[in-house]
Every structure is written in structure tokens, then in C-alpha cells.
């Protein structure tokens, strides 16, 4: 079964102040990412051998409380792939703003963070692509929208990295069986290749315009 992701659109550098910014759109889920870095950091937060990474996830309506979980997830993923030791005693801040939510918000956030880091020129070891699958009655659906994910029994978010095509991070919700997870990983692998292709195409467009 060929994976079918929704339409992907990326716009780079759409904000003037941040060092890097990317607006990532997956169907109707839109996340805006900004990156500031490497910049100065206060003494209490500075680390002498690597850069300090700060991630903030801002939901659309500030009274919702799911921030911390997403922030932790994204920060652990990014800490693995950024060359933090190249900029000690500085800080790199990544801010993710949810603009529209139609399912797969965490995946969209991770993908947009990766694009914003590419745009800011922060040294990275590899690229990442994140995919969500939801399971309902033994049928697995890739990249569900909000309605589908609300009706499903469980969902799993997988983040792949481009150098060895390994999995960096996994998080799941709800009931899943072992077979479901295997299936999800297979689908996710194929889908992540599509996402890398998409990054390539959008960057090519950007550089060839400005070469």
C-alpha cells in the first residue's frame, strides 16, 4: 500500500527578524517555526561544552495545556541531530507556533523545526522527517486529519533520520498491538522518503531562484 501524505507546502524565510523561519503546511495543519541562534545566553543557562537548546511550542489558544509534552519530544529529537558542540556557551532557540490544526500536529511541528534549522544555517548531522499513523479497527491510516484521529483507537508518531534511515524517536497514544507498530514503521519509512524528496524540491526552488 503506497503511503499517501496530504499536500505539503513549505515557505522559507518568511519573517524578517528570526535567523531562520519556515512555514510548514501539511494538508490543513500549519505550523510556523522560528529559529534564533547561535545567540548569547545568560550565565546560569550556559553550558561550557555545547550550545543550550530551548524549544517552545505555542498552541493556538493559550489556555490549552499540552505544551510541555510536545516541547520535550521535539527538544530530545533536535538535540540528537544538531551539532551543539560547534557553538559552546551560546543558545539556540526554536519556537513553534501552531496556526491551524487538522491532525498530525506533532509531526508537522517536528518537520517545520527541521526546515527552519536548515534555513538558519545551524550545523546539523542529518535531516529528520516525522510521520503520524492512527490505528482504528486493525486498519492503519497514515497522516490522518483531525476527524479520523479522534475516531481512532490509537496513534503513533515516528521520527526518522536521513543518514541511516533509522528511527530517532517514537511516541504513542492509545491501544496498539505489536503488529500495528511494525506496520506503522514500514509505512512511516516509505513516507519519510517522500518527505525528504519534498525538502529537496523546495530547497532547489529556493536556491535556483537566488543563485
Amino acid at each position: 500500500m503506497a503511503p499517501k501524505l496530504r499536500d505539503l507546502i513549505i515557505t522559507y524565510n518568511n519573517l524578517a527578524n528570526p535567523d531562520g523561519s519556515a512555514l510548514f503546511c501539511q494538508g490543513n495543519t500549519i505550523v510556523q517555526a522560528y529559529v534564533f541562534g547561535p545567540v548569547d545566553v545568560s550565565n546560569s543557562k550556559e553550558r561550557s561544552e555545547k550550545a543550550s537548546l530551548f524549544v517552545t511550542f505555542k498552541p493556538k489558544n493559550s489556555y490549552e495545556i499540552r505544551k510541555e509534552l510536545y516541547e520535550n519530544y521535539i527538544r530530545t529529537v533536535l538535540e540528537t541531530i544538531i551539532h551543539l558542540d560547534m557553538h559552546p556557551r551560546t543558545s539556540i532557540s526554536v519556537i513553534l507556533q501552531e496556526m491551524q490544526d487538522d491532525g498530525c500536529l506533532l509531526s508537522a511541528a517536528v518537520n517545520s523545526a527541521c526546515c527552519a534549522l536548515l534555513d538558519a544555517g545551524i550545523p546539523m548531522k542529518c535531516m529528520i522527517a516525522s510521520v503520524t499513523s492512527c490505528i482504528s479497527v486493525d486498519a492503519i491510516q497514515l497522516d490522518p486529519n483531525k476527524e479520523a484521529s479522534q475516531k481512532s483507537d490509537g496513534s503513533i508518531v515516528l521520527t526518522f533520520e536521513s543518514s541511516k534511515n533509522g528511527i530517532i524517536s517514537v511516541t504513542s497514544e492509545g491501544e496498539l498491538t505489536f503488529d500495528n507498530i511494525k506496520e506503522a514503521i514500514k509505512l512511516g519509512c516509505l513516507a519519510s522518503k517522500e518527505i525528504y524528496d519534498f525538502y529537496h524540491k523546495s530547497m532547489k526552488k529556493r536556491f535556483l531562484i537566488n543563485s
Binding site: 499536500d7 507546502i9 515557505t11 524565510n13 518568511n14 519573517l15 524578517a16 527578524n17 528570526p18 512555514l23 503546511c25 494538508g27 490543513n28 500549519i30 510556523q32 522560528y34 534564533f36 545567540v39 548569547d40 545566553v41 545568560s42 543557562k45 530551548f54 517552545t56 505555542k58 493556538k60 489558544n61 493559550s62 489556555y63 543558545s91 532557540s93 519556537i95 507556533q97 496556526m99 491551524q100 487538522d102
Partner: protein, 416 residues
């Protein structure tokens, strides 16, 4: 959350902005009363809008909750406004509070929203509107951009219809019954002005201008010529004429903004009612419209064909240059027209004056000043001295015999 230091501004930029404002010019080519390009886009949900005024971009989201009303006003709904400046990373907490209070005073205290219509059961349940104004990029003029975003979202927002059966409230989904828009009585928009040197002001400042300004004024007004808020801050001392002038400009700007916001909201609502139309931010991104994508600056028109340099530079007519004798005083000082003629008409008058003048000591110093080609007075004095005594003046370059017609002194000296 990390806070960045604000960008350091070199003093040459500050001086340039001040000098340019005196001539009604600004660094991006606008005049002091021009505003930047405004564009508004709406998202999928009702009440979600993004406004961009030049490079400044602000997003506003409105949702509702059912809550208990305040004890004092038991039949009015609630409106909670929150402003989020974390993305700009350089603002202090005070600035956040200032902007939040501005917006609150402007919208809540002016009662532009009919809160009584948000009441469900008096004293028990009312709609509480939660507003989040999120600043995505700060390039100056935040109060205006935030107020536009808030009012655009409020005009766009629709709440679900509600029916009360005995003590139970039934909230109908958007499919069951049409959602109801809010009742907005008037649109109070903020306009900000920054002052340079006590009397010069500019509208819609950019961040560079805001950081170097002397003071600023924020005026909230609507199309009924009512001023909803006024806020002056900074160190400039402005007169009441300036304040009244600014209020006048703010009222005109409100008229334009009210019509613009109403038009944009109407267009979006029409799009939603047509089948298969694309709504939300995704089509805006695809079209690279300036609301969500980078703002393309407009080309500056330099109208005056390049004219020159009248004041500072000396323009030498080639023909004249070839026939004019030039005197070289030093390696980098050249004089044109070193007056030398001993046979001038009015030298005799000079001499008469000099002889009549009892105090001759005045002229003794002039003999030493040989480099002042632009002081005809001293030269004239020199001649008088020289003609009296022998020719002590040393020429650095030897020129041909000077004919009197070529050499002219421009301003005959005046003697008291």
C-alpha cells in the same frame, strides 16, 4: 525562555533618521504620513486572522468558553485579551504589559463589543471570549497591528447558537444551526506616531525609528470621530497642536481601516458560503501572498533627475578653467583668482582711507595671511599695504603677467 539583547544602533543611523525626518523623508522611501502596506488573511476556524503591516506580522485567535459572569455585571459576557510577545525575544515584560493595557483600554473600556448579547442565563452562564494576540514578527507599530488583528478576528468570529430549555443549555453545533456573529458597535483602531525633536512626527514607525525616537503617541479612534484612548510616552515635550493634528490623522486612518476590515471579512465569509472554495491559510501560502510569506519591499522611485551638488562642490566650467589663472599655495590648496592687480580703480580710494585712518596697526597682521583666497577683505588690505611698501609677497608659482581684466574681486571691502 531566552531573551535577546536588542540590536545595537550606531549613532550614524540615529542622526540620519533625525535629519531625514526634518525633510519629511524616511529610510524606506515613505513620507512621514504614509502607512505601510496592509494585508489580512483568515484561517479555517472562525475568529482566526493574520495581519501584516509591512514586515510586522500579528496573529489573533478567538475561542469561547462557557463561564460564570462577574458578580458586578451579571448579565454581560466576558472578554479576556492576552498578548504574546515571546517570538520577538527582545521585549521586556514592561513592554508586554504596556501593549496589553493599550489594547484592553481601547477595546474593552470603549465598549465596542456588545457583551450583553453574550449572556445565556443571567447570573449563571455567559460566553467568555478568550482572545490570543500572538506577535510573529515585530517591525514597529505593534499597537496598530494588534488592534487591527483583534478587530478583524472579532468581526470574523461566530459563536454557536444556544437554546435554553428550563435550566439546561443546549449548544447547537455549526451544522445544526447557523452560528451567530458578534455584535460590534464601533471599530476603535489604534494609530501610533513617533516624535523626533519635539515637533516632527512620523506615522507607522518601523522598529529602527521606534528605537531611536524621542517619544511616541498612541491614539485610539473610530469613524464617529470619538477618541477612545490616548497614550503619550517618552521624553519629547509636544504642544497641543501636534496632539490635535495627530488625532485628526488617526481618525482618517480609522475610517480607512474600518472599511478595509469590513470588506475583507465580507469577502472571506462569501468564500465560505460558496461550495468547494478554498479557505484557511493553506491557499494563501500557495499563492505566496504577503500575509504569510515574506514581504517584498516596493521599489523606491527617485524622481528628481540627478542634479548636482550646488553647494558643496565647486563645478568648474571647462572653458573658464583653461583661461583662469590658478595659484597653488600648497600641495593641496589651489586658489582661483588671486587678486593681485596694483592698478585697480579703487585702490586709490583705499589709500586715501588708509591714510585717513589713524590706527594703522589693524593691517599689520594681514601680510602674513597669504592663503586666504576666499577673503577678499584681507586681500584688499594686503594690496594697500603692499602698494605702500615694496612688494614683499612671495609667489609660489610664477605665472605670466597678469592682465587686469581677468582678475576680479567679488566683494569690495567695506571700511568703517
Amino acid at each position: 525562555m531566552q531573551r535577546l539583547k536588542p540590536k545595537s544602533i550606531p549613532s550614524c543611523n540615529k542622526n540620519f533618521i533625525f535629519t531625514a525626518v526634518k525633510d519629511d523623508k524616511r529610510i524606506d522611501g515613505r513620507s512621514s504620513k504614509d502607512f505601510r502596506k496592509l494585508s489580512i488573511g483568515f484561517g479555517l476556524d472562525y475568529g482566526s486572522s493574520v495581519v501584516s503591516l509591512g514586515d510586522t506580522r500579528v496573529m489573533c485567535n478567538i475561542t469561547y468558553q462557557i463561564a460564570e459572569p462577574k458578580a458586578v455585571k451579571s448579565c454581560e459576557g466576558l472578554l479576556n485579551i492576552r498578548v504574546d510577545l515571546t517570538a520577538s525575544m527582545i521585549h521586556t515584560y514592561e513592554k508586554v504589559v504596556e501593549i496589553m493595557r493599550m489594547i484592553e483600554k481601547n477595546v474593552k473600556d470603549s465598549r465596542c463589543l456588545d457583551l450583553e448579547s453574550l449572556c445565556i442565563i443571567s447570573g449563571e452562564k455567559v460566553y467568555a471570549l478568550e482572545t490570543d494576540i500572538i506577535v510573529m514578527n515585530d517591525d514597529g507599530n505593534l499597537p496598530e497591528c494588534c488592534s487591527i488583528a483583534l478587530l478583524a478576528s472579532l468581526s470574523h468570529f461566530k459563536r454557536p447558537d444556544v437554546s435554553v430549555v428550563e435550566d439546561k443549555i443546549k449548544i447547537h453545533s455549526f451544522d445544526e444551526r447557523h452560528p451567530i456573529p458578534l455584535n460590534i458597535l464601533h471599530y476603535p483602531f489604534c494609530t501610533s506616531f513617533t516624535f523626533f525633536d519635539n515637533s516632527k512626527f512620523v506615522c507607522d514607525p518601523t522598529q529602527a525609528e521606534e528605537q531611536v525616537c524621542d517619544g511616541y503617541l498612541i491614539v485610539g479612534s473610530n469613524i464617529y470621530r470619538e477618541i477612545t484612548t490616548i497614550h503619550i510616552s517618552g521624553k519629547s515635550a509636544i504642544t497641543k497642536d501636534v496632539v490635535l493634528n495627530c488625532c485628526q490623522l488617526a481618525i482618517e486612518r480609522s475610517k480607512f481601516l474600518t472599511n478595509f476590515v469590513k470588506l475583507v471579512v465580507e469577502q472571506d465569509l462569501k468564500k465560505r458560503s460558496t461550495e468547494g472554495a478554498e479557505i484557511g491559510y493553506a491557499p494563501l501560502i500557495r499563492e505566496s501572498s504577503s500575509v504569510l510569506c515574506s514581504y517584498k519591499k516596493e521599489e523606491i522611485e527617485l524622481q528628481e533627475v540627478q542634479e548636482n551638488y550646488d553647494d558643496d562642490d565647486v563645478i568648474i566650467d571647462l572653458e573658464v578653467a583653461q583661461n583662469t589663472k590658478m595659484y597653488r599655495y600648497a600641495s593641496d590648496t589651489v586658489g582661483i583668482g588671486e587678486g593681485r592687480g596694483q592698478n585697480w580703480d579703487f585702490i586709490d580710494e583705499f589709500q586715501e582711507n588708509v591714510e585717513n585712518d589713524e590706527n594703522e596697526d589693524m593691517y599689520i597682521e594681514d601680510e602674513e595671511t597669504t592663503n586666504n583666497e576666499d577673503e577678499p577683505d584681507s586681500k584688499a588690505k594686503q594690496f594697500s599695504k603692499r602698494s605702500k611698501n615694496s612688494n614683499k609677497y612671495q609667489e609660489i608659482t610664477v605665472e605670466d603677467d597678469l592682465s587686469e581684466e581677468e582678475v576680479q574681486i567679488l566683494n569690495p571691502p567695506e571700511f568703517k
